[in-house]
Symmetry: C2
Subunit: 367 residues, 2 copies
Amino acid sequence: MQSARLSDDQRRDWLRLARAENVGPVAFRYLIETYGEPAKAIGAMPRLAERAGRALPPRVPSPPEAQAELDAGAALGARLLCACEPAFPPLLAALDPPPPLVWALGDAGLLHGRSVAVVGARNASAAGQRFARGLAQDLGRAGFMVVSGLARGVDGAAHEGSLETGTIAVLGGGPDDIYPPEHAGLHQRIAGRGCIVSESPPGYRAQARDFPRRNRLVSGLSLGVVVVEAELRSGSLITARLAAEQGREVFAVPGSPLDARAKGTNDLIRQGATLCESAEDVIRALGEGFGAGLREPEPAAYAHKGAEEPDAALIRRVAELLSPTPVSWDELARTAGVPAPTAYAALVELSLVGRCELLPGGLVVGA
Amino acid sequence: MQSARLSDDQRRDWLRLARAENVGPVAFRYLIETYGEPAKAIGAMPRLAERAGRALPPRVPSPPEAQAELDAGAALGARLLCACEPAFPPLLAALDPPPPLVWALGDAGLLHGRSVAVVGARNASAAGQRFARGLAQDLGRAGFMVVSGLARGVDGAAHEGSLETGTIAVLGGGPDDIYPPEHAGLHQRIAGRGCIVSESPPGYRAQARDFPRRNRLVSGLSLGVVVVEAELRSGSLITARLAAEQGREVFAVPGSPLDARAKGTNDLIRQGATLCESAEDVIRALGEGFGAGLREPEPAAYAHKGAEEPDAALIRRVAELLSPTPVSWDELARTAGVPAPTAYAALVELSLVGRCELLPGGLVVGA
């Protein structure tokens, strides 16, 4: 997205569009690139929704509602970072698509350092927590910021180990959502000398469904993700998968086959993750050169500029091809027999009325 | 080597040549392939030694000395298996070069099954021993023979787990060399229902220098080697390296970075060993097809047939090129400017008088 400082009005409208019903990061990016300004995109939404077959446009927060969120953030001392701004974390800007915005509470400058995520089991063993703490400490001494999710177990230990050198906690709830309760003191210390990051508005309490988005931010803020103890089918493995999809390095700490908490990490190693026994393994893999290829994707990746505006009939044709099985946008365009940019515009409009969901990575599922 | 049943005299001479001074498996193989019969090779040795610059030929045990070893083996109930015989373990025959002979005490038929070695630390943790025992049991149930070295720790546990289904203990000492003392009962049970294998004569007690040869047999008898707990620079890692050189599969059981006994296995995984959490991992990798490529190497590999006999001058030229740094036979032949088979013959003659050592894998070092 373009790099610019926003006026107060633009910032408020950016927030309104980001919080609009059915507007995920894919549609957000499309709308900003197509309409240039969030206000223009908001203005176009009734027409786009109507063309996609819905009379009522998606709900967009009013300017006072957005202002209330901005005021709540300011009251906390948090800072809103929009994806088009220079202060936005560069590794997040390199995501395709990036999150439209994040709240940062604490030292937002840490988000411009070289970061590594250290994540793992909430029910980690004492040894696993000790390892995570030491690893975070060693990574910090080597100049890395340490990113984690402020959860019990490995996450908490990783933050503790890196409080002195730079720690970044990513929350599923708002920046003031203290969870688990026993991490209240840690939350406060991170807000003081580290940085708390969240896509959610102040005052919002995390729900289970918010954690995949949180995990995408944990890996997205990091050059690599180290998984310390994880059972099979655990959230840490999702973070690892997201990291791999984002072109970030995946590390896993091995463990005894007799320990269920090592099943997930051993499985990652089997699948090609780099085996991690110490910070050295991470430092070696993430040398100076690593991450040079991680930069903001070209707008052309979305290839919608100069696309014909899809008419209602074409949108209906595309809608009929949707199914609960994810397909790629390209494949759907070929099946519909329309140019990819036009099919893509139709999909965005269908997503705005809740007919489909656009997934990062170029996939779409019917809803 | 040719497949044949030996007469009593031939067997005794085979043993004499195998036990001759300075005759390792490389020279043994060369001599047998060049002279056809061990007796003829023994007869040629004075001339070969003289040409290589030594007046006294290498010491060869007398027929009564060899007979005494045969009698001692028979008294134990052990069986001498010579590399040219059908009863010789086929996976050992596939080594290049194979050991000239082994003693087998117990059920030598087990040596013709599909085998997996389970090896590891002598000071293994209780968990590591439990894992090794269970793994050996599961491999046994899946139809594999389990090979190990009868040492304390992992080895002993692996044998115990596979006593019912087929266990093979390879000793550095003679087949009757009971070590460690607390494995006396296990030794006896393996001799009863499993098989004890050794390259050393009955009555011989293992020295430290015998273990590399023992390890080469452990991996050589096996389609794959599983390493369960191993510190860095431990014997189990040597067995793993030998296995890889022999074209056998290497498996390693991961462990916590906080446990020194996992350093070696984690390092093996880092180097490409297959991560092993259960017998399933081994069974999957060593499916029916695995090992089909492991067969007796062509005699042509040694390429000495029809070689010109090297004269004393040529042997001296080759000798001058030797150094304590291992070089390949081929490279040495090129540097000497002589055809490879001729240079190779010269090297064997030099090895017989102790001027160099021929290593499996085509390397030679000056002595």
